[in-house]
Amino acid sequence: MSDESKDPKHLESGEGAPVPDKETDTAATRTDDDPQSSDTAQHTGGGRVVELAGADSEPVQIGERRGMFGATRGQDTTGYGGLVTPTLLPGASPRPYGGYYDEVADLLATALEEGPGLGGAVEKVVVDRGEMTLFVRREHLLEVARTLRDHPALRFEMCMGVSGVHYPGEAGRELHAVYPLLSITHGSRRIRLEVTCPDTDPHIPSVVEVWPGNDWHERETWDMFGIQFDGHPALTRILMPDDWPGHPQRKDYPLGGIPVEYKGGTVPPPDERRAYS
């Protein structure tokens, strides 16, 4: 988006820096009992900045990488085999978020004051690469969704589907549902909602009653990831056959495939080939 160039946290290099480009000093200086961050969630007026109480600005570890060169099969003979690098996704961002994101957060905080409040409904706000992600607690998803759609100054009238992501390494929050929102009224503003649920209790409320166009998208995410969208009018498989076992896009589901023979040589199926991820 257009904010990208202005975003100070915007990544400068194409190189695979293992740690996201975050201002790590804020994480170090901000503590949980910091009064600035703990009790301002209730106050919204007078241009005061709403910080989320206890939002964890530490990066989220979703796995780790061993060795130097990403080789995953066979013996690591490089001598770097003992190297362990955590895979970190960006944590909560401090204010200001930049662009219209501050305005959206303030408006949402004001609108949710009667109910759970911004701190109650949203666990953290991540602004990364010029895009804003609101991590919404699943029990408050419908309330947040309805507010975002109906509030005249927010008016995210379009939800561009839901995309599932499976992080087997993030204990208790393995399944993520990502909702990109679009506000045509306010000049193609975009934000993103992200809702997590554990593998053991894969339930997320359905937003079909707020955005009816999400019907098929939620069916697809159920089909591919096994996230059950409670309240969906007819949550059935959509791409796979009705009697298909398992949910193919999960990371523990194999790709499958057969070896390919060509001129006497044999190439193993893609997920069994040598890889450097």
Binding site: V165, P180, R190, W216, G246, Y253
Partner: protein, 469 residues
Amino acid sequence: MTTHDQDTIYDDSAPSPGLDPSLPGNDPYGASVDDDTEGARVFTVSGGDWNDLVDEATALHEERIVVNMGPQHPSTHGVLRLILELDGETVTEARAGIGYLHTGIEKNMEFRTWTQGVTFCTRMDYLTPMFQEAAYCLSVEKLLGVTDRIPERASIIRVMMMELTRVNSHLVALGTGGMEMGATTVMTVGFRERERILRVFEAITGLRMNNAYIRPGGVAQDVPHGAVDMVRGVVGEIRRGLGELEMLLNENPLLKGRTVGVGYLDLTGCVALGVTGPVLRSTGLPHDLRKSAPYCGYETYDFDVITRTGCDAYDRLRIRIDEMYESLKIVEQCLDRLQRTEGQPVMVEDKKIAWPAQLAIGGDGQGNSLDHIREIMGTSMEALIHHFKLVTEGFRVPPGQAYVAVESAKGELGCHTVSDGGTRPYRAHFRDPSFNNLQAVAAMCEGSQVADVIVAVASIDPVMGGVDR
């Protein structure tokens, strides 16, 4: 990271109806056994026996008939299955069944490098390959943080290819739509004009479809010598062909009789169902991402967003025709800019992302440029290592996620990519406009005639390759 271990592989040897001979319905390709058709007669129609069938059906004195149209049916735009509940000629309920062309592209992309991902996503909606490539590459570039460093010439080529793709897709939409209504001349004209664009694609990318031309960081190679003149000629030819199409369609009383007021979906319905593209613009809302959230430098081009207010199939058809003229306008501006930027790079400067070799036609058809091979094989061991590592291993993308949307010929095409810092996409999801827009079939068709269903579906212009992915 290994993605699965032996314990978690799903057991698919469990008996399932149809494959296990001990269970009822031992014909795996036969009618399914679990459908709720108790007490109802089932007719299988395969052509030729219509009179018998009609006699039999009328003898039942049954008012409510459920017709299963597709997934193999010449007028449903590919393997789309429509389940229509009829009362006489009136459709009382319409449902779309999809998934017959699901090929697991998104899952497959997780097992290839970021660059190879282009080869997969280009095959989703096979009429708009450049849009998938562009959306995917823009999101990868956003993850890499190189969006601002894409060379100008690469963006110009991308815009030109995308706009030619839009014309290509709209021509097929009109052509097949016309054919489904019985107007084969519209089809032949549409496909004849499309052929010109495919020839341009072949000249520039080497392939007519599934081009894999736009790559993370730029485009695979510069346009060849003489391409600018070729495209300029083709633009003129297509303009003439479009004029022919307009004469056939615009004021054709038969066409208007079939399309005006058919497939009605107003602004409220469109926004509620998340419908975008020509269908949304036929309600009068000038929503076009090229204007409202420009990418690839669209803000610097001069073009109009076409809207009409009829909310019906006829207006969508007229919008597509007018959009093609606008696209040709953009293509001509691209050509001027291509002439101005002759010789400038088409790939990002960063040698850790850009593939080292430009392609060149060798004795065996295609291959790497001989200069490059001479350099890596003869003079520079480091260049050889770099080439080998980048091509086999790929580049690493910092962890995070990005969502980028482009205005495809059919609406908002969004690409959500997640990286875990590896050389492969951790997740790549495409929000295909046809997938979303097909949900509107029920709203457009219920209460209308069976024949109008075909027109309504054609006006959405779904491509099942994109819907099922």
